[in-house]
């Protein structure tokens, strides 16, 4: 069953597995960057001011029900083939979990800590950037990593409208009735998802204050 995957001929050239892997990773990272730039400030701001929380929660839930395939097809019909429809569909998929994580993270920061920050004379921007966001990072990462898993898995759909990525193996395999190729695509996407999650887990370890790690799992005691 793994014959297709391990055939050296499939590992080179412009449609080889490495190229598809990089395309897939490119879609994923670019999508997450755009979604984070939109969703983290929005979620953090609403979490900080405490106003409009129901809008964030409601919007997140409504967007969650949106079928990515339909969004992708609609944007393709409207704007033509290419990478743009892929990004629109995937960014809309990634925004709800990231925004919900940022919002929940800021809300969950101990009010006593925030009060203390104000008490020592921090301005509101300082309270948000130096106290609330660093303390909210574990939950922000939680939302972000959830979004990353969904984006890696769903970027597969992009190939339906002719875009690149590992979905090409699944859809080309389907068209050619080549089960080995479909299986290779599926396995590689799952593998990539695990690797991407490990990468962000590492980033989280490097950037989150050791004081915020769950008791008993991190740090030397």
């Amino acid at each position: 069953m793994g014959g297709w995957l391990f055939d050296p001929a499939h590992w080179s050239g412009p449609t080889g597995i490495p190229v598809r892997l990089l395309e897939h990773l490119g879609y994923t990272l670019m999508t997450l960057l755009i979604a984070a730039v939109i969703a983290i400030p929005l979620g953090a701001f609403v979490g900080h001011t405490g106003k409009g929380g129901f809008v964030v929660v409601g919007l997140s839930n409504a967007l969650r029900a949106l079928p990515t395939t339909a969004v992708l097809i609609l944007v393709v019909l409207w704007a033509g083939l290419g990478d743009f429809p892929v990004y629109v569909a995937l960014v809309l998929l990634a925004i709800p979990p990231i925004m919900a994580g940022a919002y929940a993270g800021i809300r969950a920061v101990d009010p006593v800590t925030v009060d203390a920050a104000r008490g020592v004379g921090m301005r509101e921007s300082g309270v948000l950037l130096k106290v609330e966001i660093p303390n909210a990072l574990p939950l922000i990462y939680g939302g972000f990593r959830g979004a990353a898993l969904q984006v890696v898995a769903t970027a597969t759909i992009a190939a339906y409208t002719g875009a690149g990525g590992l979905g090409r193996l699944v859809f080309d395999g389907l068209a050619l009735q080549e089960f080995g190729q479909m299986l290779a695509g599926a396995v590689l996407v799952a593998l990539l998802a695990v690797l991407v999650d490990l990468g962000f887990a590492g980033l989280q370890r490097l950037t989150v204050s050791p004081g915020l790690r769950p008791v008993g799992t991190g740090g030397k005691t």
Binding site: A70, I73, G167, F171, A186, A190
Partner: protein
């Protein structure tokens, strides 16, 4: 929107298929995740196996699972079972953790009181533990239901039914109105199912509102 009214019979037909393909996996997955979640709440070994396994299963893209399933279980690619099996797996992967968390959160003094009153294990589970675990379980069920309703559409990419058929047909015939009709149908169905489960949860757990 006008597409829906002008093609009501067709719209209703795909709605029925879509509903069947999303509700059946939720029901089967929910029923299977109760014993599995109970096991995970009782045994650390079961937890160490089930939780990572659930995470890995969840990273397999739905389209991949839908195309692999027919080969693994030996049916034709156009069989509805190819959507039902993957979505059941996703439901279990999502629900095992909810059920386990919910059961673990039942206060020890409550189960001790039930034991002291002479409840046998099965009766205690059905009349004490499980009802108290319902709010968290139903929260998980809502997430699973909404994500299933959204994922059924993926099956259409390999030719299966549901609203996804409106997406692929709309794409092939350059008809955005048809795609949009399917999108509206999916979102409305998801919102209705979510609301129904919310109400069901409130009706089934009247004590959760008492004393507020």
């Amino acid at each position: 929107m006008t597409w829906i009214f002008e093609n009501w019979d067709r719209f209703w037909e795909v709605t029925e298929v879509h509903l069947r393909l999303s509700v059946v996996p939720v029901l089967i997955g929910f029923l299977l995740s109760i014993p599995l979640g109970w096991l995970a709440s009782r045994s650390a070994t079961a937890r160490a196996i089930l939780f990572p396994l659930a995470n890995i299963l969840f990273t397999i893209p739905s389209i991949a699972l839908i195309v692999i399933t027919p080969v693994l279980i030996g049916v034709k690619i156009l069989d509805e079972i190819n959507v039902i099996v993957p979505l059941t797996i996703y439901t279990i992967a999502l629900m095992v953790r909810s059920v386990a968390d919910a059961l673990s959160a039942v206060p020890g003094h409550v189960t001790a009181a039930a034991n002291a009153m002479g409840f046998r294990p099965l009766r205690r589970f059905l009349t004490v533990d499980f009802p108290l675990a319902l709010p968290v379980t139903i929260a998980g069920l809502r997430v699973a239901t909404v994500s299933n309703i959204s994922m059924v559409s993926v099956g259409a990419l390999v030719g299966l039914g549901g609203y996804g058929q409106l997406f692929t047909e709309g794409y092939q015939t350059d008809n955005p109105a048809k795609v949009f009709a399917g999108l509206i149908g999916t979102v409305v169905l998801a919102v209705l199912a979510d609301g129904l489960l919310l109400v069901l949860g409130r009706v089934l757990t009247p004590w959760a509102r008492a004393g507020r």
